[in-house]
Each structure stands twice: as structure tokens, then as C-alpha cells.
């Protein structure tokens, strides 16, 4: 793009990031997992990194995942409820 001025915040109504946004965010999804986005490390109690294959992860919150600490969707089968 060459020098065409772009109006800042043209889509500001859609949750545009603010300059002060945290490095990472955790979203608690109703009846579902904790979604973690951004710049973070996932480690075991000794501080060693856990295997991680993607930038954004979903952490199990219902306790029934076979992939803990990650979510595997089992919360839907056991009728897990949490709000949020």
C-alpha cells in the first residue's frame, strides 16, 4: 500500500485491540474450556514447557478431557455447566 491514508479504527466497533491490551488473555467459555491467547508459556509444576502445537489453546475446565491439560470436547458429553 502506498500512502493512502487509512482512517484509524475503521472497524473499531468490532473489538479493536487497544494499545494497552495485555500480552495474553484467558476467555472462560460458558459450559466449556478456558481459551488462552497471546504471549504465554504453558509449563508443568517443575517449570518445564508442556508440548504445545498451536498458538491459541483450550484448557480443560470440566476435568473429563483425555488430553489434559487441553480440552478434547468431552464437556459436551458430560453436560458440564459453568457460567461463565
Amino acid at each position: 500500500m502506498s500512502g493512502i491514508p487509512v482512517e484509524a479504527g475503521a472497524h473499531a466497533d468490532d473489538a479493536a485491540p487497544s494499545p494497552k491490551e495485555a500480552a495474553a488473555s484467558i476467555v472462560a467459555f460458558p459450559d466449556g474450556p478456558l481459551l488462552v491467547r497471546g504471549d504465554f508459556e504453558l509449563v508443568d509444576p517443575e517449570g518445564a514447557a508442556l508440548p504445545r502445537r498451536r498458538r491459541t489453546i483450550a484448557l480443560c475446565r470440566c476435568g473429563a478431557s483425555a488430553l489434559k491439560p487441553y480440552c478434547d470436547g468431552t464437556h459436551k458429553l458430560i453436560g458440564f455447566k459453568a457460567a461463565p
Binding site: D13, D14, A15, F29, K76
Partner: protein, 343 residues
Amino acid sequence: MKQPSARGTVSELVLGIITGVGPAQPALDGLPDAVDRAVVSTPDLLFDDDLQLALFCLYELHYSGIDGASTDWEWNPTLIGARGRISAAMEARIRQEVALGELPAAKSEAVAAELFRMTGEAGGPSMSRFVAKEATDQQLREFLINKSIYQLKEADPHTFAIPRLTGRAKAALVEIQADEYGGGRPARMHSALFAKTLRELDLDDTYGAYLDTTPAITLASSNLMSLFGLSRRLRGAAVGHLAVYEMTSSQPNRLYSRGFKRHGYSEEAREYFDEHVEADAVHEQIASRDMAGGLVESEPDLLEDVLFGAAAALYVDGLMTVQVMDAWAGGRTSLLHSAASPV
């Protein structure tokens, strides 16, 4: 993609035109009427081999192309016209069938709740439970061959929707697609993981290798995604369709993996399925709330389209599952010809 064999008048005309068999003009002149006749007279467009193959080939000009077909054909007005005629009839056929319940509020949480309700209630036979517990080795191979028509270009149709979205919905779709495309690592692309599974079973991982053995309804499932992805008018449906795919994936893939393990297939062969258990547990949250919910909040008029896309995905893929499982229940192959022994 390798040129497929024609399955009737329309696909023969289309393939003849784009691959340069004989002079193109007479075939182009005859195409609109041939398409019209076929669309009007077909007992069911979703199961029409000739029309679904023709549509698949016309869409394929926008993806990887077809061997021997000049790229100039991609935007040929007559071909675009034929594609539009077939796809409009297909959309009408599906709209006749899918009934949307009472519309939820045009709010992210309400849209997500409705999508979870729709995907949770989807009836019909369970392919994943069958694969986990009962499918024979030959049926596992057929299962992969049927899937290969889409999974070797997994994510591509919905990617066409990216420039048509803005803000939260766009960020969500890109976040999902980045993961589908391996997060920058080509070997981790879902299509590449699927290709590895095919190779582990000594199947051909070339895109379109099994097209000639793929039944019409499987092509219809793929064509539906192209229809939604290539039309800005249907961007809401593209989003609803992808949301359903992400929301009906985690648990089934765990069962698919179990089925392949039952037959002694390696971790390498099962990685595609195992990856989807974890990835789609992430994606379904992003897809339902941020992508579908976010789109509806920014464009409330698209609420119905989002739910239509979701219902259409469940409907067409439901038909595909029924056809495959009916064939297996009757001791038959679910594929065309004698492709039951494709290796």
C-alpha cells in the same frame, strides 16, 4: 488435478471445453441448454453424478485447476453462467429441505447456543461410532477415499470468505484457518496430515486421485462449501457451515482414531485425527462465538444465513453419511465402479 472421466452430457461438455477436446465454441453454445435440461429433469440434483461432477470441475478451476485446462477458462462467462445455473438449483434444493427453528437473538452468545443446540441434536447414524467399533479395514479405506476429495484441500473453500468479513469475525476465521494451515509449518497443515494418513495406508495422496470413484453426494458436500465460499452473498452461510464443521469434529475424530488404532495403524497414520481432537476443541469455541456470533453482531441481517449455512452442512453431510453407511450395511462398497480395491 487429474482430469476425471465424464459422467453424462453436462460433465462431458464441460470437460471437453476446458481440456480442449475439439473446437470449444459449438460446445460452449450448447452448454446453457444442456445444463437447463439436466437441471430441470434430474430426480435429485444432490445425487446427480453428471451435474455434481460438472459443478465440481467448474469450481476446481478456482482452486488447483485441472490438468490440460487453460487458466483462461476460470472466468469464462459461459462457464460461469453454467456454474451459476447448477449452483442456484442446488441452493434451492437445499433451502426447500432445511427448516430453521425460531431465530435466536442476534447476539454472539445466543448464536453460539443455537449452533451448539443444532450440532448437538443432529440425528442420523453415527459414522464415528461405527468406525471406532465395527468398520473393516476395507471400510476404513473407503472412508478415507470419500474424505480425500475435501480433506486434501481442507480449509480452502472457507478461506475465500476471509476478505468478505471484518473485525471480530474476520480475526476469528483467520485464527482458525492459520491453525488449519499448520501455523506456518507446512507439514502440520491439516491437508498434509491427511495426505500422510493416506500414504500410511498405501493410498494415493494426490489431490483428486479418487475423484472417479467418488459418489455424487460426496461431491455435493464439497460443492456446497465452494458455493458458500465463492459467493459474497452467502458469506453468512460460509461462516455457519465452517462453524458446524468445527463443532462436530473433536469427539468424532477421537473415535476415528480409535478405529484406525483397532486395526493396528500407527500413531503417524492417526495423527490427522488426533490433531483434530485438540485443534477443534479450540476452534469450535472461536467459530461459534467469535466468528459466527461476531459476524451476526456486526451484521444482524446475516443471522438467518449463518443458521442456513449450518443447517445445510448438517443436512448434506447427513445424506452423505446415510448413503455410505447404507452401502456398508448392505455389504456393498460406498464407492463407484470397482474402486473397492483402489490400491
